[in-house]
Every structure is written in structure tokens, then in C-alpha cells.
Symmetry: C2
């Protein structure tokens, strides 16, 4: 199977979420690409193409079997495997991620949290004890952890990334604004919490401007 | 100027962040589209096209003036305006968003937080007192708030969205997994905190599989 690109992976994730939600509400046996496309505001051809890329074929007008689609997506994306992660930086966002219970359905379990703030170390968030940063390398080696979640301040994240990669981390989920430099075989997934504001601020601006126009016409 | 599409807005946001970071580190006068493209792993033609869409023109080999680019993006996206938001649902994620100080640079200020949990109401997060949910409609009307941030449990979010829209909310930043139904002139921006896991899980799966192959060859 050809290597899947990032945007395909993200769309597969959206299909999976949609179908999980649907089936949580009521039993659904089959669904068409048109129905999925409409719910997610995507082109139906795109949906069929993405499904084709992971070996799914529809049954004419009947569409796709929901269970089969979910299962295929889980296998293609690797959610049927379990992978452990450590989290570094236990501020508000780190705490929110630790407490979030939705990751397990994607195979992810956060097994340890680290911080260098003495007032946080030894504390507990969502059942996870916060360990001192100096224990991070032995921990990763001992537990063969390959994923690290970074929610640290900007100035420490690059140095941390170097140290993590040294002991075998192969993927970094980066919630800091730093563009990390890593070896070619390490994946950095950058999350930019404010990015949605580009769309929101623009929408509010456009609306305010069109309201101004109407007010102008009124006078 | 033509209406900008979502992906253009998001790329403009990425350019803005990159340039803010660069200038925070050292004074930078000019930058070329090739340099920006390389730093963000985007095609240089795309960068020039996006800049063109907001009226920016480069100066041949010298490239673009960094200040000018930042200013143009801020104006195009509406970050030079101030807009107030309310937040509903003050669990871990809600608390993280309240405490995050990075939104103000994009014009956003969270002016009130609401919850229906009696043990949270009256408490304070990052200087913001948590109000009871029943006060939400009068508050929005009185303060003419047009943006709401939702970090509520799934089962209440659609009902809440209806109520918010009734009193004038024009944009919803939706951190819940619910696909909200709203009138056409209201923007819903869905954030899907787990979406990055599609790329991460897939990368780890591919790596594990290629490691297995090597092990197989060794035997």
C-alpha cells in the first residue's frame, strides 16, 4: 500500500470520528460516501478516493459498511496498536492533555509526566505522578517509549528534543511554538493552538465590515 | 479584495508566527519567500501567491520586509481589532484556554467563563470568575459578545449553540466533538484535539513495521 500523506490521514481520522459519533447515537449499518461528504463538507469523490487508498470498496448505492470502515481506518492508521507516551511540561495545557480520556481509543496511553518545577514534582494529575526532569532519559530507555508530548516553555523545547531523540524517541507531539530540529526519521507534529483564530478573527472582521456598510446605507 | 479561504488564512497565520518568532530572537529586516517556504516546508510559489492575495509584493531578490508582512497579515486577518469572547465549560481544557496568555496578540480577550457545576461556580481561573450558566444570555447581550468558546461535554453543546446564536453570537470555537448545526452566517471552527494522532500513530506503525522487516532479514 502506498504511503499515506498527512491530509489523507487527517481526513481518515475525521471519517472515523464521524462514524463513531453516529453509531454512539443509534445503530447504523451502512453509509454512503455522499452522506459522509455532506456531514463533513468534503467532496464525495475525495471520500471514495481516501477509502480506496486503504482498500475499502463501496457496495454501489448501499455505500459502505460502517463497522468495516471504522476497522479499516483503525488498522491503516495504527490505532489498533498500543503506544505509550511521556508528557513534558505539566502546566495548564499539559494538565488538560493528561486529564483527557479520549486518547486511549486511538491506542495512546500517557505513562509518565515530567517537569522541572519543584512545586509540581511529586504532585499528581489524573492519576499520573509528576516526575523530575532528570529522570526522563532513564525512564524512556527503560520503558522503550517512542512518543513524547511537549507542553514546555519555548526556550527549553529544542534542547529537550535533542535529549529525547538521543534515547530513542521517534515522534514528538509539539504543543510549543518552537520549530524543532530533529533527525529525518523522527516525526514532529506541531500543534498550533491559536491557528483557528485566523478563521475566526477573519469571519468576525468581515461581518463587522458588512454591518458597517449597511449602517452607511441607512444614513 | 477576494474573500480568503480557510487554508490561505491558516497559512498566513503560520507565516505570521514564523516571522514573530524570528524577530523575537534577532532583528530581521527582510526575508525571501524561499526562506519562509523552507522553514515551513511549503512551496515558495504558494508563499508568494498567499502574499499576493493580501496585496504584498516582494522586492526581487531582497524579498519582503518583515514588519510590512506582519502588519499586512494582522490587518487582513483582523488581528488589529479587538474582540471579546466568553468560554463555556471550565474543565481541564477550558482552564488551559483561560490561562493561555497567547491569544491577546491576535486580538482575542476572554471576558467571562461559565459552567453549570456548582463546585466550579464562583471559583477563579487566571483572574476570570466562573459564572453560572443561567447568566450567559444576559451577559452576551449586555456585552455584545460575538465569539463563544465551547469546551463543554458533548451532550450539552448543540443546545448551548442554539442559545448562544439566539443572543447574537456569530462565531463558535468548538472544542467538543459535536458537529454543531447553526445558521449560515455563524462560523463554527471545530478543533479536534486528537487529530494529530492520525499522523503520529501512522508514523510509529510504519516505523515498527520497517523495524520488523529488518529483524526478519537478520535471522
Amino acid at each position: 500500500m502506498a504511503r499515506l500523506k498527512r491530509l489523507v490521514l487527517e481526513r481518515l481520522m475525521r471519517y472515523h470520528r464521524l462514524l463513531s459519533e453516529l453509531t454512539a447515537k443509534k445503530p447504523v449499518q451502512t453509509i454512503t460516501s455522499a452522506q459522509i461528504a455532506k456531514a463533513l463538507d468534503i467532496d464525495p469523490t475525495q471520500v471514495r478516493k481516501d477509502f480506496g487508498a486503504i482498500g475499502l470498496q463501496g457496495m454501489g448505492r448501499v455505500g459502505f459498511e460502517v463497522c468495516e470502515v471504522c476497522r479499516s481506518i483503525r488498522v491503516a492508521l495504527g490505532f489498533d496498536r498500543n503506544y505509550e507516551a511521556i508528557l513534558v511540561g505539566t502546566g495548564h495545557l499539559g494538565g488538560a492533555l493528561l486529564a483527557y480520556s479520549g486518547f486511549e481509543r486511538y491506542g495512546l496511553r500517557i505513562v509518565a509526566a515530567f517537569d522541572n518545577d519543584p512545586s509540581s514534582i511529586g504532585g499528581e494529575i489524573a492519576g499520573c505522578t509528576i516526575k523530575p526532569l532528570r529522570e526522563i532519559k532513564p525512564f524512556i530507555k527503560a520503558h522503550k517509549v517512542r512518543l513524547a508530548i511537549l507542553t514546555t516553555p519555548v526556550d527549553v523545547s529544542q534542547d529537550l528534543a535533542f535529549r529525547l531523540v538521543e534515547v530513542g524517541v521517534k515522534a514528538i507531539w509539539n504543543f510549543t511554538p518552537t520549530q524543532l530540529i530533529v533527525p529525518w526519521d523522527v516525526l514532529v507534529r506541531n500543534e498550533h493552538i491559536s491557528i483557528g483564530l485566523s478563521e475566526i478573527a477573519y469571519h468576525l472582521k468581515e461581518q463587522a465590515e458588512s454591518e458597517d456598510e449597511w449602517t452607511f446605507l441607512d444614513t
